[in-house]
Symmetry: C3
């Protein structure tokens, strides 16, 4: 059983943005030498998240961000947090700050249409993504 940790940085350009990080995570997996196990992708920020969804048609992440903005608008009467980013904190908890996925035959075992996204909800900012690969 081996446990490997990596961190990589990304920069968002918009307040709300889904950034495809599948290839960066895939590189960590292929370099790990681990053939069977799992990967955790962890976001150490409280106004961002990690999700897995379709990365073939860019309208899918657009529609996800649009829906989240409809449900949790930037400005809403009743927010108490003074930094003006309560919506981003809420979206972070609704989507979740980590994802896990399986590794088989030394590759990420994603579904045909699945990609891994870093979800920025309070950009533009420089962010970090932590990856842990475990297995044999």
């Amino acid at each position: 059983m081996k446990i490997l940790n990596e961190v990589f940085g990304i920069s968002s350009k918009h307040r709300n943005q889904m950034i495809d990080i599948t290839s960066q995570v895939g590189s960590v997996v292929s370099q790990s030498g681990i053939t069977n196990g799992d990967a955790i992708i962890y976001c150490p920020h409280t106004t961002a998240a990690i999700t897995i969804n379709e990365n073939a048609d860019p309208s899918v992440p657009q529609d996800i961000l649009f829906t989240l903005e409809e449900l949790v608008p930037h400005h809403r009467a009743g927010y108490r947090h003074s930094e003006g980013n309560s919506d981003a904190h809420c979206k972070s908890s609704v989507i979740g700050c980590s994802e896990q996925m399986l590794i088989k035959d030394r590759t990420l075992s994603l579904g045909t249409w699945q990609g891994i996204f870093f979800c920025e909800f309070d950009g533009p900012r420089h962010r970090e993504v932590m990856v842990q690969i475990r297995g044999e």
Copy 2:
């Protein structure tokens, strides 16, 4: 430390449906011989999800599906994705495509009222569920 992988198929009958897969997952755990560890249940589809909730009263999953439909309706002005299933992609990211649970004494360590559900948001379809059991 052992790592075991299994895949099983299920068929949904409705566009939105929560299918109780607790017994299928429990069988994988009991056959694994692992007494202490964890299980990952992973959905390799981008218009479906995995969740854990009450499986005693069928009105609970009904009310969860009803609430999700109220929040993320099938048709909403502003969706760009041409396949007409943007709602399903959104619900998938809100609920999440995997769950993890603990294994103790060779059984799933679920709470009294907890069951594991495959959440279909764009059925009816044939779907796959991946299970990884890790432990000793």
Copy 3:
């Protein structure tokens, strides 16, 4: 590879409440002797959840609970579940009943502003939190 399991209890005082459990989880990690690995925090209840978000300013969890209540109100025409807590079940699945985080140098590898919260959605009640620490 070691696997350690712990359970601790907490008591909520309100129907909706986010309780910071970062120090309890941190104690389990530091006592485990594990220097490199991961932790699963698991809630065995179907009307509660676990999330990671900012624990510096108490207005952040307040705004998250406020937003969830706006989206999923306690009483809504159409709920079928007779116990009157359908909203709590929905919130549990939206937030999710577990979180995972990484352990490095014998400490939880949380971001600067991140804390771990037990989310009560149908209190006041006595609740349990399960923790599994894995690593070397």
